[in-house]
C-alpha cells in the first residue's frame, strides 16, 4: 500500500504537466532528427484535436447555402449570427438547458453525499465487515445486471419521467469511491483520535475534521461527477418521454437523429428548420460545449490529480 497525501499528488500532477525530462547526455544526430519528427507528430495531434471544434464553430456562424455547397471548412462563410438567434429563441432549448443544470446540481450533491460517507466508512481499517463492503462495491465494476433488468426496475419503481431516474441509479461511481477512500486512508489518524477523545461523534469528526482537510479531493470529485452528469444523455433518453424534461444532450441528440427538431417544439417554423439543420446542429453543439470549454483551463489540474489519486492506489 502506498501512503499518499494530497500535497504529493498535487505536486505529481504538477510535474506531469510541467516537468522537463532529466537532462540528457550529448545529443546525437539521430536524436535531433527524432526531435524534429516528434515536433511534427505532436503538431499534427494538436491540429487534429482542434480541427472538429474549429469546423463546428465555423459552421455555426456560416450561411446555410455555403454549408450545403460544401464551402465551409475552418472559416465561416456568409458570416451571421442568425442561427444563434434561432436556437436562442427556441424556448425548449432553454428549458432543456435549465434541466441539464438542475439535474447536474442535484445529482452531484447526492452523489457527493453518498460517495463521501461510504468512502469514509471504507477507509476505517478496523471496521468489521470492511472487506465485504469494499468487495460489494468493486464487484459491480466488473459485473452489472444489464440494461433490461435496470429498465424494468426503474420503471416499476415509478421513476420514469422523474429526475430520480437520472440521479439515483448513478449516485456512486465506484472509481470515484475508491479514489476518495484512498485519500481518506492517507489522512493522519491522530486528529480524528484526538477529536474522539474530546467526545466528538463520528458525524462531527467527518464534518468538522475530515472534510475541511479534504477540500482538494472533494473539488476533484465534484468536477468528475458534474462533468459526467452534464454530459450524460442515455438515462434521460431512456426514462424521459416528455420534451420539457429532456436535458440539453437529449435535445441535441434529437436534432442529430432528426427525430424532433425545434419545429415540433414550437420554436421556429418547420421550413426554417429543414433549411437550417446543419447550422442549428452546430450552434447547439457550440452552446452545449461552451460551459465546459470555459471552465476547462481552471479545472484541468484537478482532473489530472484526481486520476492520479486513483492510480496510486491501483
Amino acid at each position: 500500500m502506498v501512503a499518499i497525501d494530497s500535497k504529493v499528488i498535487e505536486r505529481k500532477a504538477e510535474s506531469i504537466l510541467e516537468a522537463p525530462r532529466p537532462k540528457g547526455h550529448r545529443v546525437s544526430r539521430g536524436y535531433r532528427v527524432f526531435q524534429v519528427f516528434n515536433g511534427i507528430i505532436l503538431t499534427i495531434v494538436v491540429v487534429v484535436t482542434l480541427y472538429p471544434f474549429v469546423n463546428i464553430v465555423a459552421r455555426s456562424f456560416s450561411e446555410e447555402g455555403y454549408i450545403r455547397s460544401g464551402q465551409v471548412n475552418l472559416i465561416p462563410k456568409g458570416f451571421n449570427i442568425t442561427t444563434y438567434r434561432i436556437v436562442a429563441s427556441d424556448p425548449t432549448f432553454w428549458v432543456n438547458y435549465r434541466n441539464t443544470v438542475v439535474y447536474t446540481v442535484v445529482a452531484t450533491v447526492i452523489a457527493m453525499f453518498m460517495t463521501t460517507t461510504y468512502a469514509y466508512v471504507l477507509s476505517k481499517k478496523h471496521l468489521r465487515g470492511r472487506g465485504l463492503l469494499i468487495g460489494l462495491a468493486v464487484f459491480t465494476m466488473f459485473f452489472s445486471g444489464g440494461l433490461i433488468p435496470h429498465y424494468v426496475l426503474i420503471t416499476s419503481l415509478g421513476m420514469k419521467n422523474t429526475i430520480w431516474a437520472i440521479v439515483l441509479p448513478n449516485a456512486i461511481s465506484v472509481f470515484n469511491l475508491l479514489v476518495m477512500k484512498a485519500f481518506f486512508e492517507s489522512l493522519p489518524v491522530e486528529l480524528e483520535e484526538a477529536a474522539a477523545v474530546d467526545g466528538m461523534s463520528t458525524y462531527g469528526i467527518l464534518w468538522k475534521i475530515v472534510l475541511p482537510l479534504s477540500k482538494a479531493v472533494i473539488a476533484t470529485m465534484v468536477l468528475f461527477y458534474a462533468v459526467s452528469f452534464w454530459n450524460s444523455w442515455f438515462s434521460a433518453f431512456l426514462y424521459m418521454d416528455r420534451i420539457d424534461l429532456f436535458p440539453v444532450t437529449v435535445y441535441l441528440r434529437n436534432l442529430i437523429a432528426g427525430a424532433t427538431g425545434a419545429s415540433q417544439t414550437g420554436g421556429v417554423t418547420s421550413d426554417d428548420v429543414t433549411a437550417a439543420a446543419a447550422n442549428i446542429q452546430s450552434v447547439t453543439m457550440v452552446l452545449t460545449t461552451v460551459p465546459i470549454l470555459l471552465v476547462y483551463p481552471f479545472i484541468q489540474k484537478y482532473f489530472v490529480s484526481g486520476v492520479m489519486l486513483g492510480a496510486v492506489k491501483g
Binding site: N55, L147, A257
Partner: protein, 334 residues
C-alpha cells in the same frame, strides 16, 4: 498535543480490550463468539455503520437487484405484469438467441470492434506519452497535453454530432475527397466505413487523456536506471526499450485488464448515436441489439438472456486476464 493523541490511542484501543473475552468464547463456541464480536463491533462503531445505510441501499437496489432481475431471462415476462416474470421457461430464450443468426452477426461485430479497440485505441496513448516525454520545451509539452485532454470532457452526443458534421456530404472530409477529384462518399450510410469511423472517433476522444497515467508512471522511473543504461552505451531508443517500457509495464497491464473488462460492452452509447439500419451489418453490436430487442420491441426476456450472456462473458474475460497476468508477470488488479 501528543498526550491527547496517546490518550486517544488508549481510548480507541479500549474496545479491543473489551473484545478479549469474545476471543475466548470464539474458541469454545465459535458461532456465539462470532455473533458476540459483531455485536461489539456494532456497539463500538454504530455511528460508522449508520453512515453506510444509504450507500448500501444504493448498491443493493440499483446494482444487485438488477442482477437478480436477470431471472426474467428464464421466465416469460410481460410488460406491466410481474417484475419477475410469469412462468418458468428454462433455457428457452437462451436457445432462441443461440439459434438467432442476427445474434451471431452482432456477436461477431462486437468481437471485431472490441479487438480493434484493444489493438488500435489501447496502444496509442502509450506512444503519445513516450513522445510527450521526450519534449524538452515545457510550454509546448503543456500545450499539447491541455489540448489533447480536451475531447475527453465532451459528451458523447457532441462527439457523435461532430463526426456526422465532418463526414456529411458537405463536410470537411468530403471537401478533401472532392478536392482530389473523387465523388463525395456518404460515410455514415456505408457499412464498410463504420469501423474506421468508430475507431477514429475513439482515438480522437481518448488518446490524450489516456496518456496521464503513463506520464505519471514515467515520472516514477528511477533516473539512475537511465544513467546506468547510458554508461552501458545504450542510445535513446535502447533506453526507451529497456528502461522506459519495463518501467510502465505494470500500468500498461492494469489498464489492459480494465480494458478487457469493457470489451463486450464496446462503446454502446456512441454506437447507438452513430449507427443506422444501413450500417447495421458492421455497426450493430450485442448491446445495441439487445437494446432494440428489449426496450424498442418489448422482448424483455429475450434481451435479458442476451444481456446476461454478455455480462458473464465480460466477467469471465476480466477474471481470466487478471489470472493470466498474475501468473505470468505478477501484476493484477486484486
Amino acid at each position: 498535543m501528543s498526550k491527547a493523541v496517546d490518550a486517544a490511542r488508549v481510548a480507541l484501543n479500549n474496545p479491543r480490550v473489551e473484545m478479549e473475552p469474545a476471543h475466548h468464547t470464539q474458541r469454545a463456541q465459535k458461532r456465539k463468539g462470532h455473533k458476540r464480536s459483531w455485536r461489539l463491533a456494532i456497539r463500538r462503531d454504530w455511528q460508522l455503520y449508520s453512515l453506510i445505510i444509504l450507500p448500501l441501499l444504493f448498491f443493493l437496489v440499483f446494482r444487485y437487484l438488477p442482477m437478480l432481475g436477470n431471472v426474467i431471462a428464464f421466465r416469460r415476462f410481460q410488460p406491466g405484469g410481474s417484475v419477475l416474470g410469469e412462468t418458468w421457461v428454462g433455457l428457452r430464450y437462451v436457445r432462441l438467441f443461440l439459434n438467432d443468426p442476427t445474434f451471431w452477426k452482432v456477436f461477431t461485430n462486437t468481437l471485431v470492434l472490441g479487438t480493434l479497440t484493444v489493438v488500435v485505441v489501447f496502444p496509442l496513448p502509450i506512444v503519445l506519452a513516450l513522445l510527450l516525454n521526450e519534449v524538452r520545451a515545457r510550454k509546448l509539452k503543456r500545450l499539447v497535453q491541455s489540448i489533447s485532454y480536451l475531447p475527453h470532457f465532451l459528451s458523447v452526443v457532441i462527439v457523435a454530432g461532430m463526426v456526422m458534421q465532418l463526414l456529411s456530404i458537405d463536410g470537411a472530409v468530403n471537401q478533401a475527397v472532392r478536392a482530389v477529384g473523387n465523388d463525395p462518399i456518404s460515410f455514415m450510410q456505408l457499412p464498410e466505413w463504420f469501423r474506421t469511423i468508430y475507431v477514429s472517433s475513439e482515438v480522437w476522444q481518448t488518446v490524450g487523456w489516456g496518456t496521464i497515467l503513463y506520464l505519471a508512471a514515467l515520472t516514477t522511473i528511477d533516473s539512475d536506471l537511465y544513467e546506468a543504461a547510458r554508461i552501458d552505451g545504450a542510445n535513446r531508443w535502447k533506453q526507451t526499450w529497456h528502461v522506459t517500457l519495463p518501467g510502465i509495464r505494470p500500468t500498461m497491464i492494469t489498464l489492459m485488464i480494465l480494458n478487457i473488462g469493457t470489451f463486450m460492452a464496446v462503446g454502446f452509447e456512441k454506437i447507438l448515436l452513430l449507427y443506422n439500419p444501413l450500417t447495421y451489418p458492421t455497426a450493430d453490436v450485442i448491446s445495441t441489439y439487445l437494446y432494440r430487442m428489449g426496450i424498442v420491441s418489448n422482448n424483455f426476456s429475450y434481451a435479458a438472456a442476451i444481456g446476461l450472456f454478455e455480462a458473464l462473458i465480460g466477467l469471465t474475460l476480466v477474471l481470466t486476464a487478471n489470472q493470466i497476468s498474475r501468473r505470468t508477470v505478477g501484476t493484477s488488479l486484486w
